[in-house]
C-alpha cells in the first residue's frame, strides 16, 4: 500500500467541520433512508464486486471515453468541500454511463463563498448543487476565481448538472458508509482528523477496514489521485450521498 502524504506542501484542504448541533442530520436534506446491509453480508458482497471489477473506481478508470476520469484539482484553495461533491457526481455519471463532463467545482465554491478562499463542508456544496447545478469548464474554467464567469449562459449550463436525489448520512456511521459503497453509491466524506473532504468510492477490505477515496489534489497524488484510508480514519465525520443526478448527455 502506498504511503500517502496527507499534508503535502503546497496542497490545501479546506474542511470546516459541520456543526451537527446547529445543522443536524436532515436539517436541509432527506436523512439516509436505505435499509442497511447486514455486516454478515459485507464480505460476500465485496467479493462479488471485486470479482466483476465492478466498483466505482473501476468505472472511474474507464469513465472518460475508456480512459480514467481526471481527478479534480483544488489547486491551493480551501475548496475541498466543493470538489468532493463534484468527484461524487463524476462517479455517478460514470455509473449511469453518461459521457464525461468536465465539471468545475470552483464555480460552486466561488459563488457560495462570494469568491473568498474559505472552507466549508461537503453537504454545503451538495445541497447547493442540488438547487443550482454545476457548470462544465467550458463555462467556468477549472481553478478560475473570476466573477466574469458568472453569466446567464453559465447558469443555464450548470442547471443541466444537478443532483436529484441524495441522503444526509449520520456522522461516523460505518454501516451507512459500507452500505453505500457496496451499492456503488459514492459518499461525500468529511474527515476531521485530516481537515479535508474527499469522495469515498470503494470498500477495499473489511479486516482491516479500508476504503478507497478520491482526492482533489490531481492525478499525481496517491494512486492516480486515489488513496486508501484505514481503520477509524476511513470513517467520515460528515457524510452526504448523492444517488441520482440529472441526465445531461452533451
Amino acid at each position: 500500500m502506498t504511503n500517502l502524504d496527507f499534508s503535502p506542501p503546497g496542497y490545501s484542504k479546506g474542511l470546516i467541520p459541520r456543526n451537527y448541533a446547529k445543522n443536524p442530520v436532515g436539517y436541509n436534506s432527506k436523512p439516509f433512508d436505505l435499509p442497511l446491509i447486514p455486516e454478515d453480508e459485507w464480505e460476500d458482497r465485496l467479493q462479488i464486486l471485486l470479482k466483476a471489477k465492478a466498483q466505482l473506481s473501476d468505472l472511474r478508470n474507464i469513465g472518460m471515453n475508456g480512459s480514467p476520469i481526471p481527478s479534480r484539482d483544488q489547486n491551493g484553495k480551501g475548496y475541498c468541500w466543493a470538489h468532493s461533491t463534484i468527484s461524487a457526481m463524476l462517479a455517478l455519471r460514470a455509473l449511469m454511463n453518461l459521457p464525461y463532463a468536465d465539471l468545475s467545482a470552483y464555480a460552486v465554491a466561488c459563488i457560495i463563498k462570494n469568491y473568498r478562499d474559505q472552507g466549508g463542508w461537503g453537504a454545503e456544496s451538495l445541497e447547493w448543487v442540488a438547487e443550482n447545478g454545476c457548470p462544465t469548464s467550458e463555462f467556468w474554467p477549472q481553478q478560475s476565481m473570476s466573477r466574469s464567469n458568472d453569466t446567464p449562459a453559465m447558469r443555464e449550463n450548470a442547471a443541466k448538472y444537478k443532483v436529484k436525489e441524495w441522503m444526509d448520512g449520520e456522522p461516523r456511521n460505518k454501516q451507512q458508509l459500507v452500505t453505500c459503497l457496496l451499492l456503488n453509491i459514492p459518499v461525500v466524506s468529511d474527515f476531521n482528523w485530516w481537515g479535508h473532504s474527499v469522495c469515498s468510492l470503494d470498500l477495499v477490505s473489511i479486516r482491516p477496514f479500508r476504503t478507497r477515496i478520491w482526492n482533489s489534489w490531481g492525478d499525481g497524488w496517491g494512486e492516480n489521485g486515489t488513496g486508501i484510508l484505514e481503520g477509524s480514519r476511513a470513517i467520515p465525520d460528515g457524510m452526504i450521498m448523492p444517488r441520482v443526478i440529472n441526465v445531461a448527455q452533451e
Binding site: 435499509p35 470479482k51 466483476a52 471489477k53 465492478a54 474507464i62 455509473l95 436525489e165 440529472n246 448527455q249
Partner: protein, 263 residues
Amino acid sequence: MRCFFALLLMLSVCQAQDGTEQIRLPISKEVVTPAAITELTEESIFVIEADVPCIVLASRTGFVAVTPETGPLRIRGKFADGTKVETRAYTAKHLWIIDAVAKGEVELLIVPNGAKAENEVVRRTLIVSGSGPRPPTPPTPIPDPIPTPTPTPNIAGKRMLVVYESKDLTKLLPTQIALMSSSALRAYLNTHCEKSSKGHPEYNFWDKDVDLTNASAVWKNAMALPRDSLPWLYVSNGTTGYSGPLPKTEEELMPILKKYLGD
C-alpha cells in the same frame, strides 16, 4: 400480444407537444405482427396527412407512386382502409396520395422536416397487390428458446437500458449490483452498442426518476416504455429486442445481449 402491437401502431405516429398526432396514417383493418402492414390494391389509394412538412419516401422504388398534395382537400375514391368508394375530407395542410404501380412489398418512410433522431421517422409497410398473384406470406417464425416476454423494437438502433429504483438497491441481488458496473459487461457494451453523434456508446443504467429534460429523444422514448417491475432491462437492435426483468446474473444476461447486439 395484439394489444401490445396495437400500441406499437399507435406509437408509429409523431405527436405534437399538445399530444395531437402530427402525422396520421390510415389504421389497418387488422394489425399484423411483427410490424404494421397495409395491403394496397390496384384500385385503392393510401393517404398520408401531416400537420408538418415531411419527406415521404418509398423504399423500394417502382411499386407505388407518391403524389404530394396541399390540403385541405376532398378526395373521392376507394381508400386502403375502406371498403367502398367514398369521399373523404382531409383538413391537414400536407397530404400525400400513394397509388399502386406494381405488385410487391414496399416500405414508406415519412421523415418530418428537421428530424434529428431515427425514432422520429414513421414507417409503414405496404403490400401492393392487384388482380395477379399476391406476394408469398412470410413464414411463421420458430419460437426462440430464450424467453422474450415482451419484444420491444421501439428503441432505435443497438441500445440497452436498465431502469432501477435507487431507493431499492438493497433489494437487488448482489450479483445484479455487480453486473450493473461490471468491467467485462461494459467492455462488451462499449463495442456492441451503437455510438452517439459524439462517439459515446449508447447504453444506460438509470434510476426511474432521473430528470430527462436534457436527454436525447431516443432515450426519453425508451424511458417511457412500459415495464412491470424494477429493475428492468430493454435491449434493442433497431428491429426487435427484449423487454423484461433484469436477469439475476451476468451469465444470464449475456445470451440476451448477444442475441440482439451480436457476439
